[in-house]
Symmetry: C2
Subunit: 187 residues, 2 copies
DNA sequence: ACCTGAACACCGTTCAAGT
DNA sequence: ACCTGAACACCGTTCAAGT
C-alpha cells in the first residue's frame, strides 16, 4: 500500500477550531480538542500548522474573510447614507451572531496580523466615506465610521452597557450622529 | 513565636500582576510568576484569590480605577466641547501608555464584570454628553462618544490602521465629527 | 508521507504537613 | 494562621518509531 494519505485538511482543522471557538471561547480551542474533532491526534496538527499561534492566525483569517463577505454592500449603492446604514447593520449582526469569532479578530495578543481588522476599513468603506465626507477626508471618515462600529459592538459584547436604555436605539443614534457630522462637514 | 504572619498582601499581588501584564501580556501573568514576584510560592496566592480568574478580575478592577482617575475632568468645565476633547485625549493617552492594561479591560473572556468599562460611560461623560446633545439624549450621546473613543484606540492598539495617513489627525477628525453631529442635533 | 505513543516542560490547583 | 513541597490533571510541543 502507499504509505499514508492525509486523513484531514487545513480547512477541516480551521473549521473545527472555529466551532470550538464559538461554543467555548478561545481557551476551548485546544490542540487536542481540535485534533479529536477532525479524527486525528494532536501531534499530527503540527504537520500543517507550526504551532497553536499559527493555527489561531489561520482561524482569524478565516473569520475575517467571512466578515468581509457578510458586510459587502449590495450592488445598488444609490444613497451613500443608506449604504452606510446597511453596512453598519450587517457588521453589528455578524458580531452578535458570532461574538467569540468577532472578538478574536481584535485580540492582539499573539494572534492577529494577517488580513486583520484592516481589510474592513478597505475599499468599500473608503468609497462610501468619501461619498459622504468628500474624497479628501475619505480615509479619516472611514476610520471614524469603523472605529464607532467596532467600539460599539465591542462594548456591547463585553457587556459594557449596563445603564439600561435601548441599545439598538443608541447604535442608530450614534450612526446618525456620525452621518450628520460627516455630511455637514462636506457641504 | 506567633504562628505565621502574612508575607504579602492583596495589593502587592495585584501590583505584581500588573507589572507582569504590561511587560509580557496576559499570558505572562502566571500564578507562579506573580508569586515569585511577591516572594512567595504559587499555592499561597490561593489564600487571597480563589483562582486565577479572580485575580485577573481584581487586576481589571485596579486598572479601571486608574483609568477613571486618569480621565476625570479638570474642575473647570466651561465649554463642554473643550471638556470632551480633553477627556478623549486623556483616554487615548492612557490606552497608549498601558496598552496591555487597557486591552484587559475589554477582554470579556472570563475576566471583566466588576466595574468594567461601564464606569467609563458614567457620571462625567453622561454629564458632558447631556450638555452637548441635550439632556434627553445624554445616555445615547455618551455611548456614542465612548464607543468611538474605545473603538479607535482599540483598533490603534491592534495595529488596524495600516493604510498610512495621520492617525492623530484621524482621531481628532472623528471626535470633531461627533461633536459637530451632536451639537447640530441639539440645536 | 503521514500518523502515533511516549515523553518533557509548564501551568493551575489541591492538600497534607510543617512552623 | 499562613506557608510549602509534592502531587494531579491538563496543555503545547518534540520525536523516535510505526505503517
Amino acid at each position: 500500500m502507499s504509505p499514508a494519505a492525509p486523513r484531514t485538511s487545513n480547512e477541516a482543522i480551521v473549521a473545527a477550531a472555529r466551532l470550538l471557538l464559538e461554543s467555548g471561547g478561545t481557551e476551548a480551542v485546544t490542540m487536542q480538542a481540535v485534533a479529536l474533532q477532525v479524527g486525528v491526534r494532536a501531534p499530527s496538527l503540527y504537520k500543517r500548522f507550526a504551532d497553536r499561534a499559527t493555527l489561531m492566525t489561520a482561524l482569524a483569517d478565516d473569520i475575517a474573510a467571512d466578515l468581509a463577505e457578510a458586510v459587502a454592500p449590495a450592488p445598488d449603492v444609490r444613497d451613500p447614507r443608506e449604504a452606510v446604514r446597511a453596512m453598519a447593520a450587517r457588521y453589528r449582526t455578524f458580531a452578535r451572531r458570532a461574538p467569540q469569532s468577532y472578538q478574536l479578530l481584535f485580540a492582539t495578543a499573539g494572534v492577529a496580523p494577517s488580513p486583520g481588522p484592516n481589510s474592513l476599513a478597505s475599499a468599500d468603506v473608503l468609497h462610501l466615506a468619501g461619498a459622504l465626507a468628500g474624497p479628501d477626508d475619505a480615509l479619516e471618515a472611514a476610520r471614524t465610521l469603523v472605529a464607532f462600529a467596532h467600539g460599539f459592538v465591542s462594548m456591547e459584547l463585553a457587556g459594557a452597557f449596563r445603564l439600561g436604555g435601548d441599545v439598538d436605539a443608541a447604535f442608530d443614534y450614534g450612526l446618525e450622529t456620525l452621518i450628520r457630522g460627516l455630511h455637514t462637514h462636506a457641504s
